[in-house]
Symmetry: C2
Subunit: 466 residues, 2 copies
């Protein structure tokens, strides 16, 4: 394992120039596209995901690689600026130097810990790898024990393409992990001298552990970008509920059960703002959820984790189960805001990773007092034509009491567009770095640091621009 | 103390709108300017700094407050972007949503731990406070035991100005610290629920401690921006040395002894690239340093720390003292690259905070093998008309083996301009966050997180823009 890191580290100079870097990313995308059917079949065979679910994920993976090729060529990701010396030195604060600044890649390897639930888009050649290579950092991927065959196949294809593009294939390293010693392996990878940063997608427990390994690292801290748990609250205002409650229930039910709830953006809490009795809503939604075909979860660990967290929330005071779900089927819990807030840590802050949702009504309460843990998303369901809904939504947004990386209006949180203005992140515990995004163009900034040149001489400016 | 934090936290909504925020910053600058002479006299009386040294620092403090007022009004600091839905949905990666993103202030209080050596520019109303208020975060300053009178005077003036500007003065809190329980106080401030982030300027030991408190915080991590130690290497190439060695010696001597070396940008290592015998250079520089008038250091702790770190470096193998410095005077040490690299941690990575410098020559070595610890700055002294110097400087820059936040060409590292393109930061151990700067316009980004709005309705867009 140290060998893969040291080898990748030594190859960083090969990633120095933008044009070849872009070519490398495109070559990987093209090679994976050629192997599309085999990759999807492999992933479908070793996970509980279906080819229909994997097909759009595959497209997202290859298109993200291509997007980052374009980001590299465009060059604006460096945020370059130039402050020339002031015409009148008295206008400068401090000495009247000429300064330039830009982002440069971190010196070292980005280690990627992919996700269990997205073997392609958050896998060996997912967004973390694409953005790190785009920045100019070699990558070492830690194998995910839940989809080893898929990981190896993608790594093999990518490395062949990297070699064909004229690079050393060890620029993308791959470290196997049979799951027996994952914790020790993670520690070795993070604490190694060659490692500059880590991208992680997974649970709060593991993410917190890696975050601390990075922060307390004997050789000095490195950034760990951990995308972790999220309860993704939906807040429904009264006029929207009255006008199109059934449609909202259909949308939420589809979102909750997509991939059987095993998504970081799955809606986990629905708060019925200003609604004193959410039971009718909860019963309708539970009936809808009960129509979901049962399926195997991603892994036995995910299945038992779901059961455990559902039990935690269900055991809280005044939380009731709605409907009679089939064993292993979607779960709907219900309580009031008063009780939810009084048991914040167990009720509102517990992510039930799987097809589980908590409906909270506003019985006897001022909805504006509601608070949620940091989350990747928050959905605001309101009616634009209702002055009451608009005023309530405005108060809610204005209060600043919630913290989410993405606010969605009249829509579900599942479905993450890869584009410039996406934020896939959010306050703890959703991530440990709410100043960053794991998806979208700004994801490249995670692997960078700032540098300024003072009084740069013309004869060396090609080094600056290069 | 918790009361100051909770009070400041509750006042964050007052900082919501840009125009009043800018007015607040200008009001503080104006109030401090009115009290200029008294503030400078107070600082001069309780520190070893002279009014001549404090006068430019005072101007930097008030002008930085004004600069951030302009940043707030300009609004570009939010980095707002808008990705509309694609005309052809097939062009979107993922669902074809309309997305906007921008930086928003962290929810909570920024706690500022100022520096011992700059009671004004890194003090109660220094760059950390100015940038945090500009972002929209209330501030609580922990008093620095080395200049308590100055801190209280500035806090009092600022709070009067804040009140006169129509805000609650507790938006800028001030917590006293007599030095008896600083560690416990720091822990309480960082671990409090109301604290969102910390700005720190000081030693590596304290900075590392605060960094870990923030990362391991029981309520979830918060960012600690710690600007710490730096050896600020100067690399002198042969043609520059031959042509203008004496002038370089004069510049470096003045930089090393400015404020008696007690600056984070003080040159600590001089590497004579390609020069097999640095003794003549070292002796000339030592003679120049010996002309420096002796003076009291900032505090007994700083004085004993200087003696201790000088002793550490001097005790390393084959390191020699040059000249016969007066007790308490500037110190010059000398060794070869071979010996320096073999004892990296004690020789090259030890910051001697004070008027101490290590001259390293290139005896028997390839200068391109030289490595330095992460640093705030690196100075490259070369002759633009010498093809050999240019080629060597280019190789050195290209190698990526050093890490500094600011590269200075033919100049000393002391003197930090406050402007858009400044980076005052750098890789560990210079800071724990090389993706940030403590000085200059981008310093505001430290107190922010990203948020996106998806399918934002027109009726709520004023909330977005507000």
């Amino acid at each position: 394992m140290p060998a893969a890191l040291e080898r990748a580290f030594s190859l960083q100079p090969e990633l120095r120039d933008a044009a070849p870097r872009a070519a490398l990313l495109r070559a990987v995308a093209a090679a994976l596209s050629l192997a599309r059917d085999r990759i999807i079949a492999t992933a479908a065979a070793e996970t509980s995901l279906t080819p229909d679910e994997l097909a759009p994920e595959f497209a997202r993976m290859t298109r993200t690689l291509e997007v980052f090729a374009g980001v590299v060529e465009d060059g604006r990701w460096t945020r370059e600026s130039h402050t020339p010396a002031a015409a009148d030195p008295a206008d400068a604060i401090g000495p009247n130097h000429d300064l330039r600044s830009r982002l440069v890649p971190l010196r070292g390897v980005v280690v990627v810990f992919g996700a269990s639930n997205f073997p392609l888009a958050y896998g060996v050649c997912g967004g973390d790898t694409a953005s790190a290579l785009a920045a100019g950092c070699p990558v070492v991927v830690k194998e995910h024990p839940a989809h080893r065959e898929t990981g190896r196949l993608i790594a093999e294809m990518a490395r062949v393409a990297i070699k064909a593009a004229g690079f050393d294939p060890d620029i993308l390293g791959y470290v196997e992990d049979d799951g027996a010693n994952s914790a020790e392996l993670a520690k070795q990878l993070i604490e190694h001298r060659a490692t500059a940063a880590v991208g992680f997608t997974g649970s709060l427990a593991v993410g917190t552990h890696l975050h601390r390994l990075g922060a307390n690292r004997p050789l000095g801290p490195i950034p760990i970008f951990a995308e972790m748990g999220s309860v993704n609250p939906s807040v429904i205002f009264p006029a929207a509920l009255a006008l199109r409650g059934d449609a909202i229930i259909d949308q939420l039910a589809a979102s909750i059960t997509q991939r059987f709830g095993q998504q970081c953006t799955c809606p986990g809490i629905i708060f019925l703002h200003g609604n004193r009795d959410g039971r009718p809503f909860a019963e309708k939604l539970a009936a809808k959820l009960a129509q979901t075909p049962l399926r195997r979860m991603l892994s036995p660990a995910v299945a038992s984790g779901f059961d455990r967290t559902v039990a935690t929330v269900a055991a809280a005071r005044a939380v009731s189960r709605i409907g009679n779900p089939a064993p292993g089927g979607p779960v709907l819990l219900h309580c009031t805001a008063t009780n939810a807030l009084a048991q914040f840590e167990t009720v509102l802050a517990t992510e039930m990773f799987g097809p589980g949702v908590l409906v909270v009504d506003d019985a006897g309460h001022d909805g504006d007092a509601m608070q949620f843990p940091g989350s990747l998303t928050m959905s605001i369901w309101f009616d634009s034509d209702s002055p009451d809904d608009v005023a309530a939504a405005r108060r809610f947004l204005d209060s600043g009491r919630f913290g989410a990386g993405r606010i969605i209006f009249n829509g579900v949180p599942t479905g993450v567009r890869v584009c410039e203005s996406m934020t896939h992140g959010g306050p703890w515990p959703a991530t440990n770095r709410p100043d960053s995004t794991a998806v979208g163009l700004r994801a490249i900034e995670r692997w960078c640091r700032w540098v300024s040149w003072q009084n740069a001489p013309g004869v060396l400016l090609d080094e600056w621009n290069g």
